[in-house]
């Protein structure tokens, strides 16, 4: 079998199947990672003592715990107390937790950078605290958090490969299996790497477009 046939008939179909799983992991995890990130950031900033403390503990736990260990706990430890997840579910939950924790740090920083007068003006018009947060503070903070959030999205693309450690054959896993079976490490990993590069590039371009679309006229360099 020559190189070209191997690539076209064995490698690419296998990687494509893995890529589909990788994309599923990302598409399911990212939106919840952002939503939960917003929730944690708001909870920490405005939540009062107990919610704020709980959010802080959550972030510290995720920061302090290696993602792989978190995945192992979700997949291998929780069944012992009667909670069972499929490999896909466990991966997604782990990714959402990780993504949310780091997103929340970017969003929290951005919330702090919104001028205090914005909330005061909103309250002076009769908005409740939560109305001022949702209609005035968050729209400004999220715009400023876009570069950080896109960074986290890129990390998510890459750490999604850890799902392979829970037996889920995503892109990296598919590559690994082919490489071992056919002893084609070089070709295979070049292709795998190139596909990740494409995903990351698309994300970077997409984030740039979103940032531009939502840029506030006249407020360059903010």
């Amino acid at each position: 079998m020559d190189n070209l046939t191997f690539i076209a008939e064995i490698l690419l179909p296998a990687l494509l199947t893995g890529l589909v799983v990788t994309i599923q992991l990302i598409v399911v995890s990212a939106p919840f990672g952002i939503l939960a990130g917003i929730g944690v950031a708001v909870g920490r900033t405005y939540g009062g003592k107990i919610p704020s403390f709980l959010c802080k503990v959550f972030v510290m736990f995720v920061k302090g715990c290696p993602l792989l260990l978190l995945l192992f706990i979700l997949y291998f430890t929780l069944p012992s107390i009667g909670i069972t997840f499929t490999a896909f579910q466990a991966s997604v939950i782990g990714f959402i937790m990780c993504n949310a924790a780091y997103n929340s740090e970017y969003i929290r920083g951005a919330i702090k950078s919104v001028k205090e007068g914005q909330i005061i003006a909103a309250r002076s018009l009769g908005m409740t605290k939560y109305q001022s947060i949702f209609y005035i503070v968050l729209p400004q903070a999220l715009r400023r958090a876009i570069p950080g959030l896109s960074n986290e999205f890129i990390y998510l693309i890459k750490y999604s490969s850890l799902a392979f450690m829970l037996t889920l054959v995503e892109l990296t896993g598919a590559g690994k299996l082919i490489a071992t079976k056919y002893f084609t490490y070089t070709e295979t990993f070049i292709f795998v790497g190139a596909i990740y590069l494409v995903l990351v590039t698309i994300t970077t371009i997409g984030a740039g477009m979103i940032e531009k679309k939502y840029a506030i006229p006249g407020a360059q360099g903010r």
Partner: protein
């Protein structure tokens, strides 16, 4: 004089920050359509007083009544009173991510629950009142300070307030821009809006104010018509202070 004639009553307001008492019992009444100007040295509690009126700052003691309804101790009801007590800030505080017209209409939609089309129409009407209709689609960062301040006045007006509080509305502006904002405020006063204005603009105070209240050390120490305080009384504290302002001694 019966209470009904006063649209706003402020009774014995006390406010402390830590150990320092910033307001030491401030009381005054405002009739509908009156313009009151507050002047006084820096740090005497003028801003704190305005913020106690709409409860952005909560005083330890004292009461505020709007049309005989208590604003202080009103719980969640405060969000209703804040619509009726507009506020205009020194640095405008327009919502940076919203165009001028969105700035004016957002509270109409979110707080009053007005339909978007209706709110837009009202917002454009208020912008017209302050000469900013052509700038409706522009964002705060694209406006001059004077234009931004006029939009923020329109934003307060949109809620149909009974009273508007102005905290040094022109202090961040060049003389040229100050004039255009004072013009708008004068027009408002003439149209019968009730206004409480903290300012150092003595021209405005003399021409527009019904009463000047001079504050010092957390108290109102003098109160009267501009003529009483500035012309008839040679030795008034207000006159000494204003003299200092003119001669740059403040």
């Amino acid at each position: 004089m019966s209470d009904e004639e006063y649209i706003l009553r402020v009774e014995d307001i006390h406010k402390k920050y830590g150990n320092s008492e910033v307001l030491k019992g401030v009381s005054f009444n405002v009739k509908k359509g009156e313009t009151l100007v507050f002047i006084g040295p820096s740090g005497t509690g003028k801003s704190t007083l305005l913020r106690c009126i709409n409860q952005l700052t909560v005083p330890e003691q004292g009461n505020v009544y709007l049309r005989d309804e208590e604003v202080t101790n009103s719980g969640a009801g405060i969000n209703y009173f804040r619509q009726k007590i507009g506020m205009v800030f020194q640095n405008f505080c327009l919502f940076d991510h919203l165009s001028a017209v969105r700035n004016v209409e957002i509270a109409l939609i979110k707080v009053r629950g007005m339909k978007p089309e209706e709110a837009r129409e009202k917002a454009l009407y208020e912008l017209r009142q302050v000469g900013m209709e052509e700038w409706a689609e522009h964002y705060p960062a694209e406006l001059s300070g004077g234009q931004a301040q006029r939009v923020s006045i329109a934003r307060a007006l949109a809620m149909d307030p009974d009273v508007i509080l102005f905290d040094e509305p022109t202090s961040a502006l060049d003389p040229e821009l100050t004039r255009e904002v004072l013009e708008v405020m004068k027009k408002l006063a003439q149209a019968g809006m009730t206004m409480l204005v903290v300012t150092h603009e003595m021209g405005f105070a003399c021409n527009v104010a019904n009463r000047i209240l001079f504050m010092e050390n957390g108290k109102i120490v003098e109160e009267g018509s501009p003529t009483d305080l500035l012309e008839n009384n040679e030795s008034s504290r207000t006159r000494q202070f204003v003299g200092g302002l003119v001669m740059g001694e403040d």
